[in-house]
Amino acid sequence: MNVLIVEDDIFFQKFYSTKLQEAGFKTDVALDGEQGIIKAREFHPDLIILDIIMPNKDGFGFLEDVAKDEELKKIPILVFSTLGQEQDVQKALQLGAIGYVNKTFFDFDKLKTRIEEAINAKKA
Protein backbone atom coordinates (compact mmCIF):
# COMPACT_ATOMS: atom_id res chain seq x y z
CA MET A 1 0.00 0.00 0.00
CA ASN A 2 1.25 3.44 -0.95
CA VAL A 3 0.99 6.36 1.47
CA LEU A 4 1.83 9.95 0.54
CA ILE A 5 2.80 12.15 3.51
CA VAL A 6 2.21 15.85 2.83
CA GLU A 7 4.14 17.52 5.63
CA ASP A 8 6.66 20.38 5.71
CA ASP A 9 8.38 19.31 8.93
CA ILE A 10 11.37 17.11 8.08
CA PHE A 11 11.30 15.45 11.49
CA PHE A 12 7.71 14.25 11.08
CA GLN A 13 8.28 13.32 7.44
CA LYS A 14 11.18 11.09 8.47
CA PHE A 15 9.49 9.73 11.58
CA TYR A 16 6.22 8.74 9.94
CA SER A 17 7.90 7.48 6.76
CA THR A 18 10.22 5.26 8.78
CA LYS A 19 7.44 3.84 10.92
CA LEU A 20 5.18 3.14 7.94
CA GLN A 21 7.99 1.59 5.89
CA GLU A 22 8.90 -0.68 8.82
CA ALA A 23 5.30 -1.89 8.69
CA GLY A 24 5.52 -2.65 4.99
CA PHE A 25 3.98 0.47 3.45
CA LYS A 26 5.58 2.31 0.54
CA THR A 27 5.83 6.01 1.25
CA ASP A 28 6.58 9.26 -0.48
CA VAL A 29 6.69 12.76 0.95
CA ALA A 30 5.77 16.27 -0.17
CA LEU A 31 6.86 19.49 1.52
CA ASP A 32 3.74 21.53 0.97
CA GLY A 33 0.37 21.48 -0.69
CA GLU A 34 1.68 22.40 -4.14
CA GLN A 35 4.24 19.64 -4.16
CA GLY A 36 1.59 17.37 -2.66
CA ILE A 37 -0.64 17.72 -5.73
CA ILE A 38 2.29 16.95 -8.06
CA LYS A 39 3.37 13.94 -5.99
CA ALA A 40 -0.18 12.63 -5.69
CA ARG A 41 -0.45 12.57 -9.50
CA GLU A 42 2.95 10.85 -9.87
CA PHE A 43 2.87 8.43 -6.92
CA HIS A 44 -0.80 7.34 -7.10
CA PRO A 45 -1.10 6.82 -3.35
CA ASP A 46 -3.74 4.63 -1.78
CA LEU A 47 -3.99 7.18 1.02
CA ILE A 48 -2.68 10.65 1.86
CA ILE A 49 -1.73 11.88 5.33
CA LEU A 50 -1.91 15.66 5.26
CA ASP A 51 -0.59 18.36 7.55
CA ILE A 52 -2.62 21.54 7.76
CA ILE A 53 -0.12 24.25 8.62
CA MET A 54 2.45 24.39 5.82
CA PRO A 55 4.15 27.14 3.80
CA ASN A 56 3.20 27.94 0.17
CA LYS A 57 -0.02 25.96 -0.03
CA ASP A 58 -1.49 24.79 3.28
CA GLY A 59 -3.63 21.74 3.95
CA PHE A 60 -6.86 23.59 3.17
CA GLY A 61 -5.54 24.74 -0.20
CA PHE A 62 -4.49 21.17 -0.97
CA LEU A 63 -7.94 19.82 -0.12
CA GLU A 64 -9.61 22.46 -2.28
CA ASP A 65 -7.40 21.51 -5.24
CA VAL A 66 -8.00 17.80 -4.70
CA ALA A 67 -11.78 18.34 -4.65
CA LYS A 68 -11.58 19.78 -8.18
CA ASP A 69 -9.62 16.83 -9.59
CA GLU A 70 -11.67 13.79 -10.67
CA GLU A 71 -8.87 11.30 -9.96
CA LEU A 72 -7.31 12.80 -6.87
CA LYS A 73 -10.59 13.21 -5.04
CA LYS A 74 -10.97 9.42 -4.94
CA ILE A 75 -7.94 9.14 -2.65
CA PRO A 76 -8.80 9.03 1.06
CA ILE A 77 -7.10 11.76 3.07
CA LEU A 78 -6.36 11.76 6.80
CA VAL A 79 -5.24 15.05 8.35
CA PHE A 80 -2.70 15.44 11.12
CA SER A 81 -4.21 17.07 14.16
CA THR A 82 -2.53 18.61 17.17
CA LEU A 83 -3.77 20.21 20.37
CA GLY A 84 -5.52 23.49 19.64
CA GLN A 85 -6.31 22.62 16.07
CA GLU A 86 -9.82 21.28 16.58
CA GLN A 87 -11.42 23.97 14.39
CA ASP A 88 -8.85 23.39 11.67
CA VAL A 89 -9.64 19.68 11.70
CA GLN A 90 -13.36 20.36 11.37
CA LYS A 91 -12.70 22.64 8.44
CA ALA A 92 -10.53 19.97 6.82
CA LEU A 93 -13.28 17.37 7.25
CA GLN A 94 -15.75 19.73 5.59
CA LEU A 95 -13.30 20.15 2.70
CA GLY A 96 -13.16 16.40 2.12
CA ALA A 97 -10.73 14.79 4.55
CA ILE A 98 -12.16 11.53 5.86
CA GLY A 99 -10.60 11.59 9.29
CA TYR A 100 -7.68 12.72 11.39
CA VAL A 101 -4.59 11.37 13.12
CA ASN A 102 -3.19 12.86 16.28
CA LYS A 103 0.30 13.85 15.22
CA THR A 104 1.82 14.14 18.64
CA PHE A 105 0.27 11.19 20.43
CA PHE A 106 1.84 8.42 18.47
CA ASP A 107 0.10 5.07 18.57
CA PHE A 108 1.27 3.09 15.58
CA ASP A 109 -1.28 0.29 15.86
CA LYS A 110 -4.07 2.83 15.79
CA LEU A 111 -2.53 4.66 12.84
CA LYS A 112 -2.07 1.44 10.89
CA THR A 113 -5.67 0.44 11.58
CA ARG A 114 -6.98 3.88 10.47
CA ILE A 115 -4.96 3.69 7.26
CA GLU A 116 -6.05 0.15 6.42
CA GLU A 117 -9.72 0.91 7.19
CA ALA A 118 -9.61 4.04 5.03
CA ILE A 119 -8.02 2.23 2.10
CA ASN A 120 -10.40 -0.75 2.39
CA ALA A 121 -13.40 1.56 2.58
CA LYS A 122 -12.29 3.21 -0.64
CA LYS A 123 -11.92 -0.14 -2.40
CA ALA A 124 -15.38 -1.30 -1.30
Binding site: D9, F11, P55, L83, G84, K103, F105
Partner: protein, 125 residues
Amino acid sequence: MSYIYLSPFKGLYVKTSREYINKLQQDLETLARDPQSYEAINSIHISAHSLTTQAAITGYKNVERLCRTIEKIFKKLKEEKSKVPLELIMLLKDSTKSLTDCIDSIEKSDKEIDLSDITGKIEKV
Protein backbone atom coordinates in the same frame (compact mmCIF):
# COMPACT_ATOMS: atom_id res chain seq x y z
CA MET B 1 4.88 7.67 24.63
CA SER B 2 8.35 7.37 26.10
CA TYR B 3 11.43 9.33 25.22
CA ILE B 4 13.43 6.16 24.89
CA TYR B 5 11.11 4.91 22.18
CA LEU B 6 12.02 7.95 20.08
CA SER B 7 15.73 7.93 20.78
CA PRO B 8 16.67 6.84 17.23
CA PHE B 9 15.25 10.19 16.12
CA LYS B 10 16.98 12.37 18.70
CA GLY B 11 19.70 13.56 16.34
CA LEU B 12 17.09 14.55 13.78
CA TYR B 13 15.05 16.31 16.46
CA VAL B 14 18.07 18.39 17.56
CA LYS B 15 19.04 19.22 13.97
CA THR B 16 15.57 20.28 12.83
CA SER B 17 14.90 22.21 16.03
CA ARG B 18 18.06 24.23 15.48
CA GLU B 19 16.99 24.94 11.90
CA TYR B 20 13.60 26.24 13.08
CA ILE B 21 15.23 28.38 15.76
CA ASN B 22 17.57 29.88 13.13
CA LYS B 23 14.54 30.60 10.98
CA LEU B 24 12.82 32.27 13.92
CA GLN B 25 15.85 34.47 14.45
CA GLN B 26 15.91 35.51 10.78
CA ASP B 27 12.19 36.27 10.79
CA LEU B 28 12.54 38.32 13.96
CA GLU B 29 15.15 40.47 12.23
CA THR B 30 12.61 41.04 9.45
CA LEU B 31 9.95 41.96 11.99
CA ALA B 32 12.29 44.37 13.74
CA ARG B 33 12.48 46.30 10.43
CA ASP B 34 8.84 45.75 9.49
CA PRO B 35 6.58 44.78 12.42
CA GLN B 36 3.67 44.21 10.07
CA SER B 37 5.42 41.80 7.69
CA TYR B 38 2.79 39.12 7.03
CA GLU B 39 5.43 36.85 5.55
CA ALA B 40 7.53 36.97 8.74
CA ILE B 41 4.49 36.55 10.99
CA ASN B 42 3.30 33.54 8.97
CA SER B 43 6.77 32.04 8.96
CA ILE B 44 7.12 32.44 12.73
CA HIS B 45 3.73 30.78 13.20
CA ILE B 46 4.85 27.79 11.12
CA SER B 47 8.22 27.51 12.92
CA ALA B 48 6.59 27.76 16.34
CA HIS B 49 3.99 25.18 15.34
CA SER B 50 6.69 22.78 14.17
CA LEU B 51 8.81 23.26 17.30
CA THR B 52 5.70 22.69 19.44
CA THR B 53 4.66 19.48 17.75
CA GLN B 54 8.18 18.07 17.66
CA ALA B 55 8.61 18.81 21.37
CA ALA B 56 5.21 17.27 22.12
CA ILE B 57 6.01 13.95 20.47
CA THR B 58 9.48 13.77 21.99
CA GLY B 59 8.25 14.65 25.48
CA TYR B 60 10.08 17.94 25.98
CA LYS B 61 7.37 19.75 27.88
CA ASN B 62 9.20 23.03 28.58
CA VAL B 63 9.99 23.53 24.90
CA GLU B 64 6.44 22.54 24.01
CA ARG B 65 4.91 25.06 26.40
CA LEU B 66 7.08 27.96 25.28
CA CYS B 67 6.62 27.27 21.58
CA ARG B 68 2.88 26.66 21.92
CA THR B 69 2.60 30.09 23.54
CA ILE B 70 4.43 31.67 20.61
CA GLU B 71 2.36 29.66 18.14
CA LYS B 72 -0.94 30.86 19.63
CA ILE B 73 0.13 34.50 19.65
CA PHE B 74 1.28 34.38 16.05
CA LYS B 75 -1.80 32.55 14.88
CA LYS B 76 -3.83 35.46 16.26
CA LEU B 77 -1.49 38.08 14.77
CA LYS B 78 -1.77 36.32 11.41
CA GLU B 79 -5.57 36.19 11.51
CA GLU B 80 -5.93 39.77 12.64
CA LYS B 81 -3.15 41.02 10.31
CA SER B 82 -1.80 42.96 13.27
CA LYS B 83 1.48 44.70 13.91
CA VAL B 84 3.85 42.85 16.25
CA PRO B 85 4.64 44.92 19.35
CA LEU B 86 8.30 45.74 19.82
CA GLU B 87 8.17 44.35 23.36
CA LEU B 88 7.14 40.96 21.95
CA ILE B 89 9.90 41.01 19.32
CA MET B 90 12.48 41.62 22.05
CA LEU B 91 11.07 38.85 24.24
CA LEU B 92 11.09 36.44 21.31
CA LYS B 93 14.73 37.23 20.62
CA ASP B 94 15.44 36.25 24.24
CA SER B 95 13.33 33.14 23.80
CA THR B 96 15.40 31.96 20.82
CA LYS B 97 18.52 32.20 22.98
CA SER B 98 16.79 30.16 25.69
CA LEU B 99 15.58 27.62 23.15
CA THR B 100 19.10 27.28 21.73
CA ASP B 101 20.45 26.63 25.22
CA CYS B 102 17.69 24.12 25.83
CA ILE B 103 18.32 22.18 22.64
CA ASP B 104 22.06 22.15 23.45
CA SER B 105 21.22 20.71 26.86
CA ILE B 106 18.97 18.07 25.32
CA GLU B 107 21.71 17.10 22.91
CA LYS B 108 24.28 16.80 25.68
CA SER B 109 22.28 15.27 28.50
CA ASP B 110 18.75 14.53 27.24
CA LYS B 111 17.46 17.11 29.74
CA GLU B 112 15.61 20.37 29.14
CA ILE B 113 16.42 23.59 30.96
CA ASP B 114 13.82 25.60 32.83
CA LEU B 115 12.00 27.89 30.39
CA SER B 116 9.23 28.99 32.75
CA ASP B 117 10.56 32.52 33.21
CA ILE B 118 10.65 33.46 29.52
CA THR B 119 7.43 31.56 28.86
CA GLY B 120 5.66 33.48 31.63
CA LYS B 121 6.84 36.82 30.26
CA ILE B 122 5.58 36.02 26.75
CA GLU B 123 2.27 34.76 28.11
CA LYS B 124 1.73 38.13 29.77
CA VAL B 125 2.16 40.15 26.56
